[in-house]
């Protein structure tokens, strides 16, 4: 019985890693679109989101089956319940990557505006956070998980910077009487918001990693 359970836990772990791999790839590729604006690459990300959704449902089903049929306790229970929480965050990151890809490659009126360097940095920082959060899950590294939680502030600060930059750009546009480009600036704001949310989800994943390993969620014992 235990052997079968161990096998199932191993499979769950492999599926979690596969899903983590997908989402970190998705958010990284979405960031690369800022330079390339490659429509075909964007379509791959959007299609990949369906696969991520499918993975979420599969892992969810597996977790529920394990909870019902094996009635796990202690660390096994923590692992499975945190996996259930983590896949929701992972799925959201997948959604947001898909949204970012869609917005970046949307046809625009007028001249293409370059993306502000702060937004590009934000995309790199967020992709990095997601990668490290998944790393923390794979290696069960609490230190790394805490570092990910801490680096959420970096992305939040970048979000403020992007907003300031966009306001500046908007004022410039206003003075130059070029209203068509304002739409692109709003889209950039949306992209920045999506990244900010993705970073929050990465933080959540890291927090659940800590819970899975230590039983503490946000510094408190969850019973």
């Amino acid at each position: 019985m235990r052997r079968r359970f161990d096998e199932q836990l191993l499979e769950l772990n492999q599926e979690m890693i596969a899903m983590g791999s997908r989402i970190e790839q998705a958010i990284e590729n979405a960031g690369e679109l800022m330079a390339s604006r490659d429509v075909a690459a964007a379509r791959i990300i959007m299609q990949g989101d369906q696969e991520i959704d499918r993975m979420e449902r599969e892992i969810e089903g597996r977790c529920l089956r394990l909870l019902l049929m094996q009635q796990p306790v202690a660390s096994d229970l923590r692992l499975i319940s945190s996996a259930l929480k983590m896949i929701t965050d992972m799925e959201r990151i997948g959604d947001q990557s898909s949204d970012i890809a869609e917005i970046i490659t949307m046809p625009v009126e007028g001249n293409l505006l370059p993306f502000p360097s702060q937004l590009q940095q934000m995309s790199r920082e967020t992709a990095n956070m997601v990668r490290r959060a998944v790393d923390a899950y794979v290696t069960r590294d609490i230190e790394l998980a805490r570092a990910v939680v801490a680096s959420d502030d970096v992305v939040d600060n970048l979000f403020d910077e992007v907003k300031r930059e966009l306001i500046k750009l908007m004022n410039d546009q206003c003075n130059a009487q070029r209203h068509a480009d304002g739409m692109q600036l709003l889209d950039m704001l949306m992209i920045a918001k999506y990244y900010e949310r993705s970073a929050d989800h990465a933080t959540n994943i890291a927090e659940w990693v800590e819970y899975a390993v230590t039983g503490k969620y946000k510094g408190e014992m969850l019973q």
């Binding site: 596969a18 791999s21 790839q25 794979v138």
Partner: protein
């Protein structure tokens, strides 16, 4: 063993104790009835004496005895019984009566239906033919046995308690030599000769084990050396994709620590989509190949299941150079086809116009000039390509002789002086003679191309300086100009084939785009090192440092 010996001792003692008590009980149970019988007979003789003196009736009347006394007629009728029972049945069939009637005396131990108890009977035939029978209860012997029983139990227990320490002591005495046996030198420390074969066997097996461990260790070391020395990454995994074996190269390529990676699953170590796809394919088909990009390098993965096993091995080889070389070659082929097509297109176009009679006679000098220029361009292009392809093959037939570098540089300067004069550029060649071990034609190509470039990418009134110097016994060729200079972002790429910093300007100067590529290859052929220093708008200095001739083993 100690436990077993101890228990055996105790069991033995208990068995003996029990046997002794049983024996005692047996003795008691046979001796007591005999004693009773003896007493009954004595009593019988007393009764008989009394009967003779007092007569039967009187004798019984005042008799006081614990025994049951019965007087039986020869026909079995009971004449008297001390228990007082009347009308007893005929006693002729009773064992002891029958015996007494026959032989004069009889005895028996049996159940009495009258008294409903086990009785010991003794009977004697009197002179008048009647039988006198005395009986006593057998319970006397049982009582005695009963009183003996507590003593017996007590005795056995006492025996047990006394024997416990003794048994323990003997046991430890017996076991001690075995415990103290030195298994490394069994012959010296043995007390029991029965153990010698066992000890020998143990000794042999220990030796055999040691030998096998040594062989195993050797094999392991061989394998470690083999795998460690491999340039390719090697990784062995079990059916759950857990890593059983990973060599240093694989660790470096995947960027993990080998101690950490052992026992982890492959997706935990690397979860790139390429790797996961490969693993899925491996599981499905039993073998798979794929490419993996990591840290700016490209690796080829090839995995296959182990025959007759459920594990698999994964080989990782660095394909960065090959992939990069392929993409350079592809770019080269695309460029070559483009570059080669342009001149013939121009030539054919003008030739067609002439063929159709569409060219005015006064235009012919200009057109033929263009055709000539394009033809020359194509020629130099083909020459350059051929040269490069030879250099790609490692320049077979190239010489390794002492060549004076200053000589070569001066000759190149002389041949390019007219071109420099045309553009109004001053060209100076100075320095000392320095020798290089190599091929004269190649060195000539190298210096002409560098000087030619310095002239081409320069404005009127500029200057080009060629300096040859001997440094650290090696030779150094420096070509510096005060021309356009090269933008920093182009500097790393100018040695690539057909790479041009600015298309429009280069076409006008008439270069093939292969010159610096030839310089690079020629320098590589001589193991020379090229350094480039350039500031846009101020000029460029290219320094080619040749190694000391002796190093190549002249």
């Amino acid at each position: 063993m100690r436990k077993r010996i101890f228990i055996s001792f105790i069991a033995l003692i208990m068995v003996f104790g029990t046997l002794a008590s049983l024996l005692l009980a047996g003795i008691v149970s046979t001796v007591i009835p005999n004693q009773v019988m003896k007493r009954l007979r004595e009593e019988a003789s007393l009764v008989i004496a009394r009967m003779e003196s007092l007569g039967a009736e009187n004798a019984f009347g005042r008799l006081i005895s614990t025994s049951r006394i019965t007087h039986i007629a020869p026909d079995g009728t009971v004449l008297f019984d001390s228990t007082g029972f009347e009308d007893l049945d005929n006693h002729a069939q009773r064992e002891e009566v029958e015996e007494a009637l026959k032989t004069g005396n009889g005895s028996a131990v049996r159940y009495s239906s009258t008294l409903r108890a086990n009785l010991i009977y003794v009977s004697t035939r009197l002179e008048d033919g009647t039988v006198l029978r005395l009986a006593a209860s057998e319970s006397a012997s049982r009582e005695m046995m009963g009183s003996m029983l507590p003593w017996q139990i007590f005795g056995t227990l006492a025996l047990l308690i006394l024997c416990l320490p003794l048994a323990a002591r003997i046991t430890s005495l017996l076991v001690k030599p075995i415990l103290e046996m030195d298994l490394d030198k069994p012959d010296d420390s043995l007390v029991y000769e029965e153990l010698i074969p066992l000890a020998r066997r143990i000794d042999e097996q220990a030796k055999q084990n040691r030998r096998q461990l040594e062989t195993l260790d050797e094999r392991r070391q061989e394998l470690d050396v083999l795998l460690g020395g491999m340039q390719e990454g090697f990784l062995a995994m079990d059916e759950d994709q857990r890593i059983l074996l990973i060599n240093n190269s694989a660790c470096q390529m995947l960027g993990v620590d080998s101690r950490w990676a052992l026992g982890k699953t492959v997706p935990e170590v690397n979860r790139r989509q390429e790797m996961l796809t490969l693993l899925a394919e491996l599981r499905e088909k039993g073998c798979a190949t794929g490419m993996l990009g990591r840290g700016g390098k490209t690796y080829m993965l090839s995995a296959s299941r182990v025959p007759h096993g459920r594990g698999a091995v994964l080989l990782i080889s660095d394909q960065t150079e090959k992939v990069e070389g392929e993409s350079t070659r592809k770019r080269f082929a695309a460029n070559v086809s483009h570059e080669l097509r342009t001149p013939p297109t121009t030539i054919c176009g003008y030739a067609e116009m002439m063929d159709k009679g569409m060219v005015m006679p006064q235009d012919i000098p200009a057109i033929s000039g263009v055709i000539l220029k394009e033809g020359r361009r194509m020629l130099s292009l083909v020459e350059d390509i051929l040269r490069l392809s030879r250099l790609d093959e490692g320049f077979p037939g190239g010489a390794h002789v002492r060549v004076g570098l200053f000589d070569v540089a001066r000759a190149a300067c002389e041949s390019l002086l007219p071109a420099a004069k045309d553009k109004g550029i001053s060209l100076a060649c100075e320095g000392e003679e320095a020798f290089v071990l190599g091929d004269r034609t190649l060195l000539d190509e190298l210096s002409s191309n560098l000087i030619d470039n310095a002239i081409k990418y320069n404005q009127a009134g500029g200057s080009v300086k060629v300096i040859v110097s001997a440094q650290n016994r090696g030779a150094v060729l420096t070509v510096s100009d005060n021309g356009f200079g090269i933008e920093p972002q182009h500097q790393s790429q100018i040695f690539e084939r057909f790479y041009r910093t600015d298309k429009s300007r280069s076409k006008a100067t008439g270069g093939t785009g292969l010159g610096l590529s030839i310089v690079k290859h020629a320098a590589e052929y001589h193991s020379a090192i090229i350094t480039l220093k350039s500031t846009p708008g101020q000029g460029t200095t290219i320094r080619v440092a040749f190694p000391e001739p002796g190093e190549e083993g002249a």
